[in-house]
């Protein structure tokens, strides 16, 4: 369980995280979503005590991070920025971190095996690919067998197989009853991984809701119909949840009815349809709409 209360972090006059109040629950994968520069990595750094909050608090399992007797046993973190000395081997990197908590080589070797780095365990980390570095970071996060796990952009640099692997890993960790908090700026990735979503933009909380609800809220059913007897059809479509907008060109956009229902209705009244096409907004669209005003840097799209 991670609890943030009014969590705020300012660097100079720039506010990176602005009054976040969020609870991240165990047993589910919570996605942490927001455009680049929204404050996701800063929030992660605040949780593991690398940065001190300007205002507000964040606790894990009811404790402040810097007051934990065995932090790696409580929280494991894969940070976005690489946190490994490039001159050391993967195994020695993990051994050094493990030693601080009294964990030994057996635990380290088990984790190297788990993330698939056994064969390169004695190679210098400086020669690792982005994906291998990511796996090493995941091994480090799991070192102390923590109940709470933070993953900042875990899919970075992983190949498709690696991405599937991390998805399954996150799922298993959540099914174990652990708290899994995973950030991404890619919505489609989140839709596959997360059960719950926390969306931020410019450091502020935008949404905190289950993925299903996000999908329901974000996905509108609109259908475009074109018919020589459009007027008759529009008269039939009227209903409490239905909105029809004729576009003046012999067609109309219908909100609140599926294309199947419209087709059946038209057929039962003998109305010929020249077009019947569903216009479905994607999750990506919903996300864009939600965070559109909160993007730090907009790119101009050339026409």
């Amino acid at each position: 369980m991670i609890e943030m209360t009014g969590l705020t972090k300012r660097y100079g006059d720039k506010t990176a995280v602005d009054g976040l109040t969020v609870g991240v629950r165990p047993g589910v994968v919570t996605g942490f979503l927001g455009p680049n520069g929204a404050g996701k990595s800063t929030t992660m750094r605040l949780i593991v005590g690398l940065d001190r909050p300007t205002r507000g608090t964040v606790t894990v399992n009811g404790k402040r991070y810097d007051e934990m007797a065995a932090p790696l046993h409580e929280v494991g973190a894969l940070l976005e920025a690489r946190s490994v000395h490039s001159g050391r081997s993967a195994r020695n990197h993990l051994l050094a971190l493990a030693a601080s908590h009294g964990l030994g080589a057996a635990r380290v070797d088990y984790l190297l095996e788990l993330v698939g780095l056994t064969e390169v365990a004695r190679k210098r980390v400086g020669a690792f690919s982005l994906g291998m570095g990511q796996r090493l970071g995941i091994a480090a996060a799991l070192l102390g067998d923590p109940a709470v796990l933070l993953f900042d952009e875990p899919a970075n640099g992983l190949d498709p197989e690696g991405i599937r692997w991390i998805r399954q890993l996150l799922r298993r960790l959540a099914d174990d009853g652990r708290t899994v908090f995973v950030s991404s700026h890619v919505m489609s990735e989140m839709a596959l991984i997360a059960d719950h979503l926390v969306v931020i933009g410019r450091g502020r909380l935008i949404a905190d809701l289950p993925v299903d609800e996000f999908v329901r809220r974000g996905t509108r059913h609109q259908v475009r119909v074109r018919s020589p007897r459009l007027g008759d059809l529009v008269a039939l479509l009227q209903g409490p949840d239905v909105v029809v907008r004729p576009d003046g060109d012999g067609a109309a956009e219908v909100d609140g009815m599926t294309s199947e229902a419209i087709g059946e209705l038209a057929a039962s009244h003998g109305i010929a349809l020249h077009e019947l096409s569903p216009l479905t907004a994607s999750l990506e669209d919903a996300y864009m709409e939600l965070t559109g005003g909160a993007v730090e840097y907009h790119a101009e799209v050339a026409e």
């Binding site: 593991v48 973190a77 174990d176």
Partner: protein, 279 residues
């Protein structure tokens, strides 16, 4: 990808917690697993012993010197250990800096401080491991340098022994001096966090500041230089490995005390910085 899975439930026991001895162990694993630690210390030992041999060989080959004053100021102990110690301080100072700034440069410090969020134990443990290891390697290395040098000087019967006045103190003191300079470099690393900045600060303190003070009007140079940590003739740290410290410098152990104080104060500033600043 292997078929290994994360087993349900907790896998590591209740004994898992951070203690100071464990932090020391962690620091030892770090120290011994970096190639640069071993390479730098090997270079330091080579400098100490190699320059002792070179300096003493050059001296005995041209003995007696033409200038009688040169013969009068000759000191067989310093002839052996002086040049090596002077250059070795650069190597250990840089190693001390790198053991800290290397973690900042690579990002390792984030993993380090996430594992030990109280932070200051890391600083203490790293200092302890580095100081112990330097003492175990460099103090004997200076003795080896001394004996190698005396072996060469013996051909002209100008060698000395550890029983000669001040000889044991100078040889032992040179080793301690190197340990303290290494720690001063490490402390500057904690304060400044950047390799270039910390090395510049260290060398500035050892060589540039005394040079600037040297050009100040009297009595500034003689009053200030003796309180500087090391590097030049009359500074505090050098006194401990000088056979006969001059009237403008502190006594050998008082001087060494001042050098240690420098390292302790900079370490304290580093500890405060570490506690207060974001990683």
């Amino acid at each position: 990808m292997t078929a290994a899975t994360v087993a349900p439930g907790r896998q590591v026991g209740d004994g898992v917690r951070v203690t100071f001895p464990r932090v020391v162990h962690s620091e030892w694993v770090r120290f011994r697993s970096l190639r640069s630690s071993w390479v730098t210390l090997a270079i330091t030992v080579l400098l100490l012993v190699g320059l002792a041999a070179l300096s003493c060989w050059a001296r005995e080959a041209h003995w007696p010197p033409r200038d009688p004053g040169e013969a009068a100021s000759f000191n067989a102990t310093l002839q052996a250990i002086g040049p090596g110690t002077f250059l070795a301080q650069l190597a250990v100072g840089v190693l001390g800096v790198l053991l800290v700034t290397g973690e900042y440069a690579t990002g390792m410090v984030r993993a380090t401080m996430a594992a030990v969020p109280r932070r200051v134990p890391v600083l203490l443990a790293r200092g302890l491991v580095f100081a112990s290891f330097m003492a175990a390697v460099l103090v004997p290395a200076v003795f080896v340098a001394f004996f190698v040098g005396q072996g060469l000087l013996a051909s002209k019967n100008i060698d000395t022994t550890l029983h000669a006045p001040n000889a044991l103190r100078v040889v032992f003191g040179a080793g301690l001096y190197l340990v303290a300079i290494g720690l001063l470099g490490m402390a500057l690393g904690w304060v400044l966090r950047h390799t270039a900045g910390a090395i510049t600060a260290l060398f500035g303190l050892l060589f540039i500041v005394p040079l600037i003070i040297h050009f100040l009007p009297a009595p500034w140079p003689s009053n200030v230089t003796k309180w500087l940590p090391g590097g030049v003739g009359d500074s505090a740290g050098i006194a401990v490995w000088t056979p006969h410290p001059g009237t403008n410098s502190l006594g050998p152990w008082a001087g060494f005390g001042v050098l240690v104080l420098w390292a302790v104060v900079v370490f304290a500033v580093g500890a405060i910085t570490l506690r207060r600043r974001d990683v």
